[in-house]
């Protein structure tokens, strides 16, 4: 095993970044389910919107074979924005 150089190995960097994307995607799923549970309040349309948004974000972020950073980022931010709107609309 060679001693670490001045920069961390690139393989590690790529893997860390991939894991970071997946961690963020999983966090998104958790937050989306929380928003759906607490804010949708049985409204089928809102629930459908949240689930559809979640599917789109996961499709972009997790399943895209070539990572398009800017586009995936926009998809993620748009997904968060949808959740924020649903949350604001569902506030008591």
């Amino acid at each position: 095993m060679s001693a670490p150089g001045p920069h961390p190995p690139l393989d590690d960097q790529v893997e860390r970044t991939q894991l970071s994307w997946r961690r963020t995607a999983l966090s998104y799923v958790a937050v989306a389910l929380l928003v759906a549970h607490l804010s949708a309040d049985g409204d089928a349309v809102t629930l459908l919107v949240v689930l559809a948004t979640m599917a789109v974000v996961l499709g972009f972020v997790w399943l895209s074979p070539a990572k398009l950073v800017a586009l995936d980022g926009v998809a993620m931010v748009a997904g968060v924005a949808v959740l924020c709107v649903v949350a604001l609309a569902g506030m008591r």
Partner: protein, 133 residues
């Protein structure tokens, strides 16, 4: 993908398969070391996760019943959700500006947004203390 990237010491964005979109980010300058691009990407994702945590906090705060005034509780919940919304947008803008600056060998953009975030969060925390006590 990773093993291919390790063939050379410095691999640019194009070598990592990054598309040249948006044009105002990738339009000028030279590709930076891919490590810096990846670090910028991870910072963006950390901001997004922070935004989602704020959103979740706002939704959860609205859902619980506290003894304090209901109006203040709703206000704090709305502020948290709006912070989450703003944070996600700022995250992308910050990623793009940083990537652009790295390509052009310019100074990186500042972290003014972080200071504003911290200030608003301090105010929200103070409001929460009022709510709980």
């Amino acid at each position: 993908m990773g093993s291919d990237l390790c063939q050379s010491e410095v691999v640019d964005d194009q070598g990592a398969g990054r598309p040249a979109w948006p044009g105002w980010v990738y339009g000028g300058g030279q590709d930076p070391d891919v490590r810096f691009s990846l670090a910028n990407e991870r910072t963006f994702l950390a901001w997004v996760r922070t935004s989602m945590a704020l959103l979740a906090g706002g939704v959860a705060l609205d859902a619980v019943d506290l003894d304090g005034p209901r109006g203040l509780q709703t206000l704090l919940a709305v502020v948290l959700v709006l912070l989450g919304l703003g944070g996600a947008g700022i995250a992308w803008a910050r990623w793009a500006l940083t990537q652009r600056a790295m390509r052009r060998r310019e100074p990186l953009p500042g972290t003014r947004a972080l200071a504003v975030f911290a200030l608003v969060l301090i105010l929200v925390a103070a409001g929460l203390v009022v709510l709980v006590l």
